[in-house]
């Protein structure tokens, strides 16, 4: 296990700067998730940590040693790829054992490690099968097994669940999280899925255009996003944003106002009867409804601004109906309309 430190890390492709001098310290045993839209530089950063991309500037330390010039094999890290990267011409046993190909261990020790990894990952019965005979989830487990047997300083995951269906993805999220709790190995995980980030991370790193926008625990990012981008990226469905202005101790909607009022769909509640005590109230026309079982998401048109609210009662509003929703005081997020920086909660 090891700490990972990124100091002013830069990656350039010709004149294009893909990663623009980022700083980050990852503690020993920490599970850090890089999240952001495509092209934000998260995978490039991970590949620089792995040694698969040359570092154009700055310093990368693994376990307090500068590793900028070291080959991937000299960094003692293991990586799990989006497409699993398990070899079709090898059995599961050979694939897992491949992580030990260059390890100076005797055969008995290698076999012991392979069996142990197979047991932890529930692959014992599949060790002599080829990858073609495995499901997507089993293949991903094999890839994780190959990383595990090496007992590396750090695990790197590059969007490992992207190719799985929703149910399997949810299952694998839990399995990877359990594995981390068991092994306590430093883990850097890249995803564009904010749900994965929220559910798995000790800390989340939000990236955009090659820079880190915010680093924090999932609840810190959810409760105090630094700007509009982070606020909308974290949480599903995305935060509603409307123009507004301050009025006394509260706020009100106002086209052309100097602030952006943000409210999460789960905090904007539509009731059959409005209490009138909300910190923020909007009325709009229902354009679509998404019944989810315990609650219903309602899409409203409020003065040409799309808003999503939640109905927690057992009624589903009709499309075209007028509906009033309210958010409790303290559930609003305020942003500067020109800089889009977070101003505080209201």
């Amino acid at each position: 296990m090891a700490t990972i430190e990124l100091e002013k890390l830069v990656k350039r492709y010709g004149k294009v700067e893909a990663v623009k001098g980022i700083d980050l310290q990852i503690a020993d045993g920490e599970f850090v998730v890089f999240v952001g839209p495509s092209g934000c530089g998260k995978s490039t950063t991970l590949r620089m940590i792995a040694g698969l991309e040359e570092i154009s500037g700055g310093t990368l330390k693994i376990g307090s040693e500068v590793v900028n010039e070291r080959e991937p094999k000299q960094r003692n890290i293991a990586m799990v790829f989006q497409n699993y990267a398990i070899y079709p011409h090898m059995t599961v046993r050979q694939n897992i054992g491949f992580g030990l190909y260059t390890a100076k261990l005797d055969k008995a020790e290698k076999d012991k490690r392979i069996e142990a990894a197979g047991k932890i990952l529930g692959l014992e019965a599949l060790l002599d099968r080829r990858p073609a005979a495995l499901s997507g989830g089993q293949r991903q487990r094999v890839a994780i097994g190959r990383a595990m047997v090496r007992d590396p300083s750090a695990f790197l995951f590059d969007e490992p669940l992207s190719n799985l269906d929703a149910q399997l993805r949810a299952q694998m999220r839990i399995e990877i999280k359990r594995l981390h709790q068991r092994l306590k190995t430093t883990t850097v995980y890249v995803t564009h899925d904010q749900i994965e980030a929220m559910t798995m991370a000790d800390r989340i790193v939000v990236m955009k255009d090659g820079v880190i926008l915010q680093v924090g625990t999932p609840s810190e990012l959810y409760d105090a996003p630094v700007d509009v981008f982070t606020a909308r990226f974290i949480g599903s469905p995305s935060m509603n944003l409307v123009r507004g202005r301050r009025k006394g101790s509260g706020v009100e909607m106002a086209p052309g106002g100097d602030i952006l009022i943000g409210v999460r769909p789960h905090d904007l509640i539509a009731h059959a009867a409005v209490s009138g005590r909300g910190g923020f109230t909007v009325t709009g026309t229902v354009s679509a409804v998404e019944p989810l079982g315990p609650e219903t998401l309602v899409h409203l048109d409020v003065a040409d601004t799309p808003i999503i609210a939640t109905v927690r009662e057992k009624f589903v509003p009709a499309v075209g109906a007028e509906l009033t929703c309210e958010a409790a005081p303290g559930d609003l997020y305020l942003f500067d309309a020109s800089t889009e920086r977070f101003l505080g909660r209201s």
Partner: protein, 280 residues
Amino acid sequence: MSEATRLSHGRIRPGLIVTWTVLFIGGLIMISPLAFMFSTSLKTADQIYDLRLIPAAPTLANYISVLADGRFMRWFFNSTLIAVLVTVSNCFFDSLVGYTLAKFEFRGRYFIFIAILSTLMIPTEMLVIPWYLMSSQLGWLDSYWGIMFPGMMTAFGTFLMKQFFETVPNDFIEAARVDGLNEFQIWWKVALPLVTPALSALAIFTFLGNWTAFFWPLIVTTSKELYTLPVGLSSFAVEQSIQWEMIMTGAAIATLPTLLVFLVLQRYIVRGVMLAGLKG
């Protein structure tokens, strides 16, 4: 036969009859030289102008006589040695260069690839004189190396392997790199097994091409001990004042490895032809 090839009431479609007939005639045309070669090899000298396919008095005397001739066995050995070595060399070097061109970014990569590819446009006849001069200056005339060196690595093989290595996902290569393998180990343990169909096709075509090679071995060799089978058989014809039964026996024995390769590796050959876009 699939249901689609029949009419709903079970009668065979007329178009299919025409196809089968054409294929049958084509097959007969293709197989008849082979059949006559084996037939003639079983005939005595006075029977060879009797065109019956099954000889009146078949004999293995020709085979005994050819196999007893030390020169024939020497030529057989030469052809085997040369075809095997050139095939191994092509599989090794073509795939190594193809892999490098497909998976490594370096300055001049595209230029090198085009340069290699452009040699495909030069006919062998044009290359024979430079090859000969080179062999002469380097003392390679009338040697195994002299016969083999022009084919030890080919532009076609490099091109074929490059195209196939490009289909190998980079994740496989990078995963092996992270796992600690060096670049040669990655090529050998990871990339090469993933392009086995292309490698098989290259091996088959190279082996067959070198087994039947005539022009260059004829030019570069003067000692009968270094003749390959095709060259040896042609000289055999001149020496023996065209003893067809002996020539056909030699040709029949020479064909056996080729037939064996075809029978054993038929699946790969068909796939190889499709992969390489060749006519066979």
